[in-house]
Each structure stands twice: as C-alpha cells, then as structure tokens.
C-alpha cells in the first residue's frame, strides 16, 4: 500500500534536484570567464520505483515512480581533444621561442643595413682603395687603420651581443626548468587533494580543471603524456582519479614517470659544470636529469604496475640531447638556441661561423700584409694582432702606424701600391677556409641561412597557433560556458522548480480533501 504522503516526497526530491541544477547553472555563469573552466552539469536520474521487489512487497499494479535525484555533478570534457590541444601546444611553445631567439639574433646582426658587419667590410675595402690610389698619403692610411678598427669592433660587438643573448637563453633555461618543476609539484599537490576526496564519492570537477590547466602549461615546456589512475574506496564512476604524468624520451621503450599520485620528480637541465644558468663559460647542454630524490620511493613503486603504458620510474637518470623529440616544447627550443653537443645550436653555430670568418680573414690578410713594405721600409709585420683569431679578439695592432701599412711590394718604393692592390683584391677572392666563398659572400650566406630559419620559425609559429586555435575552439565547443545555453537552462530549471512546487500544492489540496473534508457528511 502506498504511503499517504508519498506525493509530497516525490516533489520534494524534484524541488531539491531542480535547485541543484539551478545552482550548477549559477556556478557555470559565475565561471564563464575562468581560465580552464569546463561547464558542469547535474546528472539526473529517477529514484527507484515503488515498490521495491521483496517477499513482503505489496501486490499492486505498476512500478510507481518515486521522484528524481542528482546522481552526480560532472564536468563536460573530452580527454581526446585535450591530447590534441597539448600536441599543438608543444609545437607552438617550440616555435614561439625559436622565433624570439632568431628575432634577437637578427636585431643584433642588423642586416641589411648601413651599419652592420657587411657595411663595415665595405668601408674597410673603400678605405683600402683610397690607399691604393694614394699609397703615400698618410691621411688615407690613417683612415684605413680607423676603418679596420671599426671592422674589428663590429665583430667584437656582434660577438659580445650574441653571447649576452646566449647567456640570457641560459638563464631562460633555468627559469623554464624551475617552471616545469613547480608545475610538476603543483600537479602532484592537486593529485593529493583529489586522492583524499574521491574515495568519499565526491567528483572534484574544479580540481580537475585546475589540474588540466597545469598540464596544458607543462606541455608548453615539455611534451608529456597523462594517464588516469582511479581512486579506491567509494569513488564515483565519473571521477577522474589522480594523473600520472609521463615523458617518453626518443629511443626509449617505456615512458618515464614525472608525477605519480602525490609524488613528483624534479628535472634539471645540465651542462658540464652543473645546472645551466647563463653564467660564463656558456658550456653546451649535456643532459636532462630526472631525479626522485625528494620522494619516498617505496610509496611509488608498487602502484606503477597498474599503469597501462608500462611506464618506468627513472631514478636519477640522465637523458642527452638525442632523446628529445624534435620541434616540441619551449625547453628544447631554448636548449637548441643556447647550444648543445659540441657547439651545435643556433647561437653557438653563428658564433662559430663568425670565428671562422675572422680567422680566415685575419690570417689571409696578415699574410698579404707581411709580404709587403711600409713607407718606413718595415716589412713582415702583422696588420691585425696575430693572436686575435676569433670574433671576440680580432684587433688591429695597437702600435701600427700609418707608415707601417705595407702598400709596396718592393723595399723603398714609396709610390709602389702593388701589395695593397693585392690586399684590396682579396675582397673578391674566394677563400678555401670559408668553403670557397669570399669573406662577404660567406657572411651573406650566414645571414641568408638565418633568414630562412627565421622565416620557417615564423611560419611554423603561425601555423601551430592557427591549429591550436582550431583545437581550442573544438575544446570550447565541448567545454566552455555558453551564456545563451545557461540562460535557457535557467529558464528550464526554474520552470521545473515552479512545477514541482505546484505539484506539492496539488497534493496538499488532495490531502486537505481527505483530512478535513472526509467523514463529515451533511455538515
């Protein structure tokens, strides 16, 4: 036999449920602009019918409905889109940093312009032609020395500036490492909170969102994968569990674990003398060290068997440059620009080529200069300091006098300009030391190379930015709050609430009839 007040109970549950739905709508609206927030919905379900089967169940027709309840509050999210989003984020992070590094290099080299190394070279050769035309003229010779000094200083300046940026990149790597470590720690902390709450049956939607934001951010720096590990106890079926963050080095069979539950590893990016931090000497990157020293390993090891990916725990293991997946993540991009494995990388290579140019130039030029005679019959002298064979150290001899410039090919012939003609001619001569290019030809090919790399970086940045936006839109289509939708829902839930209230009034009136109106015949 059904209960007298069953009708009230049914609609009370309806009132409560619609109220929960309204509040969730309110929460969605409040968080419409929260970064990383996914809209939430109340999963509604009907309460079990009456009567429930049993030996003493009353015999009556039908399985009478008893109302509704909120089964769970769940965020609307697609893990697959998240994975796509993070892949594009890897690439965007890489190309963003590459573009920045190349842009800075372009700014320093400032070509084509009226004040770069190329122009200094031009000025130098011009001054030399003036000496060719006026080999005896001390003023022209003085100008040549001044222009040579300007050329040397152009090299010195460029070298210094490039090294400054390289050192900044080193500092950037240190900052990136700290960011990555901080993200790993924060993810582990959220894992800890989630693992404490979920066994009680709660679904911690807002913690999931916060954690996903961190994972997104982590992927800007380092491409990582995630794997869900369900919580034990009385966890809800829609709960997401703790996240295990893994990183797969290229050429390695299993991914390595960076975060597992509330435990986390620390990475450090090292060169020969310790952590890279932008201090001199700017030694190249050698290894990425993954270290679990801060954690109680016994807590981590057993549950790892449960992972699908077969990830392993890497305790204090080091990974060299070849283990990075190319083109992914800010960290790798900055390592690429800063330098790695024996002078490779954007900045070391550019510095190397400058040195190569300077070495060939100084050696060839000094040899030519040595074979001639100055106005004061000096011979066999260097023009540039013999020891200054790098862009940092190239220098015109301090004690060189205008008369020392060996313009003549013969002793004691002041009007002889044969030797300086030869020196001037070397502007257009190909050099074996420069892979068969002229000095300026070699420099131009350096600039061309840089330009092509820059062009590629800018294009790739734009492309990955566009791709990420389209994935971001897909994600937004799934998860972001639409105010129109929330308004519609609001009206829907409000009306349902009102209808429930009206139902209660109806039940109240029927009860009124029974309680107050029955058994009073004729009154």
């Amino acid at each position: 036999m059904r209960s007298t007040f069953m009708g009230l109970e049914i609609n009370k549950s309806g009132l409560f449920l619609q109220q929960s739905a309204l509040y969730t709508t309110g929460h969605n609206i409040a968080n419409a602009n929260t970064l990383g927030y996914s809209r939430q919905r109340v999963n509604m379900q009907a309460l079990p019918g009456y009567p429930s089967p049993g030996l003493n169940s009353p015999k009556m027709p039908g399985h009478l409905g008893t109302g509704a309840e909120a089964h769970s509050v769940q965020r609307v999210r697609d893990e697959f889109i998240d994975r796509q989003y993070r892949q594009e984020t890897n690439k965007l992070g890489y190309w963003e940093e590459q573009t920045k590094a190349i842009e800075q290099m372009e700014d320093i080299l400032s070509e084509p312009s009226e004040f770069g190394i190329n122009k200094s070279f031009d000025n130098f050769w011009q001054a030399m032609e003036d000496v060719v035309a006026n080999s005896k003229d001390t003023a022209a010779r003085q100008v040549l020395i001044a222009k040579a000094r300007a050329l040397a200083e152009s090299f010195n300046y460029t070298d210094k500036q490039l090294k400054t940026v390289q050192s900044n990149l080193g500092a950037q790597i240190e900052a990136d490492t700290n960011t990555v470590n901080s993200l790993l720690r924060q993810i582990a902390e959220i894992n800890r909170q989630i693992m404490a709450v979920e066994p009680n049956g709660y679904v911690t939607n807002d913690l999931y969102d916060a954690r996903d934001v961190l994972v997104d951010k982590l992927n800007e720096y380092l491409p990582v994968q995630v794997e869900r590990v369900p919580s034990g106890g009385n966890a809800s079926p829609v709960s997401e569990g703790s996240l295990t963050i893994t990183y797969r080095p290229v050429g390695s069979a299993e991914p390595i674990i960076l975060v597992h539950g509330k435990e986390f590893a620390e990475i450090s990016i090292n060169n020969a003398s310790g952590k890279i931090n932008g201090t001199e000497p700017l030694e190249p990157f050698t290894e990425m060290l993954v270290d679990w020293k801060g954690s109680a390993l016994a807590d981590i090891v057993p549950p790892i068997d449960k992972l699908n990916s077969g990830a392993v725990l890497a305790i204090n293991e080091s990974y060299d440059y070849s283990t990075f997946e190319p083109g992914k993540g800010k960290l790798l991009s900055n390592i690429n620009s800063y330098g790695h494995s024996n002078g490779q990388g954007l900045y070391p290579e550019m510095l190397d080529k400058l040195d190569q140019l300077v070495e060939t130039f100084v050696t060839t030029f000094n040899a030519l200069h040595q074979s001639g005679y100055g106005l004061n019959d000096s011979t066999g002298q260097d023009f540039f300091e013999a020891g200054g064979l790098t862009a940092a150290t190239i220098k015109v001899r301090d004690d060189i006098l205008p008369e020392d410039i060996a313009a003549s090919s013969e002793l004691g012939e002041q009007g002889n300009n044969k030797n300086i003609l030869d020196m001037a001619k070397s502007q257009t001569e190909v050099q074996v030391g420069l892979n068969g290019a002229t000095y300026q030809g070699f420099f131009k090919s350096m600039i061309g190379d840089l330009g092509v790399r820059g062009e590629e970086a800018i294009r790739s940045e734009y492309n990955s930015g566009t791709l990420r936006l389209s994935v971001e839109n897909k994600r937004a289509a799934m998860s972001s709050v639409s105010l129109d939708e929330e308004m519609t829902n609001m009206i829907m839930f409000q009306q349902a609430y009102n209808a429930n209230a009206r139902m209660i009034t109806v039940v109240d009136e029927t009860l009124d009839r029974i309680i107050n109106g029955m058994g009073r015949v004729g009154l």
Partner: protein, 303 residues
C-alpha cells in the same frame, strides 16, 4: 556544433591580432620605405640587398679612384704639353743659331737661354701631385733632378723608376696612371747638354744638324726627342680616353645597381597604400562585427 561566447571572443582576438600584425607590417613598409626590415621577412631580398649595397659602395669607390686617375693623367698631360712647348722654343733657338750670321755674343745669349730652358725641362721632370713626383715611377718620393743635376740619390740599379702605378677602376680592371719619365728626361737633358756645347763650339752647319733633318737616325736629334715626347703624350691621351669611357660605364652601372636595389627592396607605395587601405577597411569591419556579436547574449533579452 556548440558555439560559445569564449570561442567568438578567442576567434575575434586572434583575427584582430593578425589584422593588427598586417597593419603594422604595412605601416613599417611605408615608414621605412623598405619592403623588409629583417632577413626573415624575405631572405632572398635581404641577401640581394646586401650584395647591391656592396656593389654600390664599390662603384662609388671606383668613381673616386677615377678622380684620382684623372688627376694623374691630366697633370702628366699638362707637364708633357709644357715640355713640348719648351722643345718648340729650343727648336726656334737652334734654327736661329744655325744661321752663321750670328756673332759669338749672339750665340752666348742663346746658350744662356738654352740653359734656362734645360732647367725648366728638369723642373717639368720633377712635376708633383701633392708630394709625389709623377715621373719617378714608384719612387715617388725621389725627384729626378736636384739642383740642375740628376738626383744623386738615384744610384744606378734603383728599382721602380720605370715601374707602373696602377689603380683599380672597375672590378678586375686596372689603369696605370703614371708615366715613368726617367729615360725620356735623361735623353732630353743629355741632348740639351749637347746643344749647349755645340752652341759654344760648333759651326752653323753642326748646329743645324742637331735639328735632325739632315743626318736623321745617326744620333739623337731634336726631331727624335720631340717624337718620343709626343709618343708619351699620345699614350697618356689614350689612357685619358679609357678612363673617361670607364667613368661613363661606372655612371651607368651605378644607375643600374641603384635601380635594381630599389626594385629589390623599396616599398612600392601605390601598391602598399592600396593594400593598407584595404586592410584598414577589413580591420574596421572586423571590429564592428566583433563588437556587435560579442555584446549580445540571451541575457540581454530575458527580463
């Protein structure tokens, strides 16, 4: 597909950013007058630009060198011209002296003038540009004559007296600008001595023979010497022509390179401004459409 406010604003933001980027680029092109400001804008234009700059600097320098070559050649030409004048005067005097009606005093006077003319020719042999003696080969610091006699510092075997001085006037083109004159002026000087001696001692017939019309080819004669001088001068003239031609070629080359450089990297204003105006209107449209779409939601209609 669900479309939400954040998607609209994300899209709008990115499109506006891209549009601003394009406007910025166009603005930069218009301000700087250059299509590119960094190699990554267009590596090919950048490299070509560097080459054209070098080419232009070299052309400027070659033109400067040509100025120098002109100074040398013009001065040499002048000097040789003057020497020719003097030889003409010498000829006049010798013709006059050959006349046996001259008394001894007359020939003495002529001899005096001859000595002056000899010194003048020596001065011409010492012609300078700045502090350079132009007829001394590459020994430009050494005059050919000092105090009326050959420079004692020029000992026999001194190198470079007949060496050329060359100047670059174009890529792989050199012009020798000097005229080594030691031998020629020595010849002239010696001949002047012969004239002076002959004037002292010789008969009219002997003096007449100096003119070279009578016993040509047997010995130095005035005609031979004049011939040598003219040959030198003709050579200088030929080189002056060459330099002039080269100068015209350089002018043309400079114009060509400047034009190519401009075509390579200079902003085409008409096209760029048109593009800017188009881009501006696209930007305007984007802004106003964005403003319309973003502000309206259902919230505005539920009361």
């Amino acid at each position: 597909m669900r479309v939400t406010q954040s998607m609209l604003s994300n899209n709008m933001l990115r499109n506006l950013n891209t549009s601003y980027g394009k406007l910025g680029k166009l603005q930069e092109q218009l301000y700087s007058g250059k299509k590119i400001t960094r190699p990554s804008d267009d590596p090919v234009i950048a490299i070509k630009g560097m080459s054209y700059r070098t080419e232009l600097d070299r052309t400027t320098q070659y033109k400067r060198n040509i100025g120098e070559a002109n100074t040398w050649l013009d001065t040499t030409d002048d000097a040789l011209g003057q020497a020719g004048e003097i030889l003409n005067r010498v000829k006049e005097l010798v013709v006059q002296a050959a006349n046996d009606t001259n008394v001894v005093e007359d020939r003495e006077k002529m001899q005096k003038e001859m000595e002056q003319l000899k010194r003048q020719l020596q001065d011409i042999a010492n012609t300078q540009i700045g502090d350079k003696y132009i007829f001394s080969g590459t020994q430009t610091d050494k005059p050919l004559y000092v105090d009326g006699v050959p420079n004692p510092n020029i000992v026999p075997g001194t190198t470079g007296l007949d060496a050329d001085i060359e100047i670059d006037v174009f890529e792989a083109v050199r012009i020798n600008v000097n005229t080594p004159g030691k031998d020629m002026f020595e010849e002239i000087d010696n001949f002047m001595d012969t004239i002076i001696t002959t004037l002292q001692t010789g008969t009219g017939e002997e003096i007449g023979e100096l003119l070279g019309d009578i016993a040509a080819g047997t010995n130095d004669s005035l005609a031979d010497i004049h011939g040598t001088l003219l040959k030198s001068r003709a050579d200088v003239g030929a080189r002056q022509n060459r330099v002039e031609l080269m100068e015209q070629r350089l002018d043309l080359h400079e114009i060509n390179v400047t034009k190519q450089m401009s075509m390579n990297e200079d902003t085409e204003y008409a096209a760029t401004i048109t593009e800017l105006v188009t881009q501006e209107s696209i930007h305007q449209a984007g802004l106003s459409v964005g403003a319309k779409i973003i502000q309206q939601t259902l919230v505005d209609f539920i009361r």
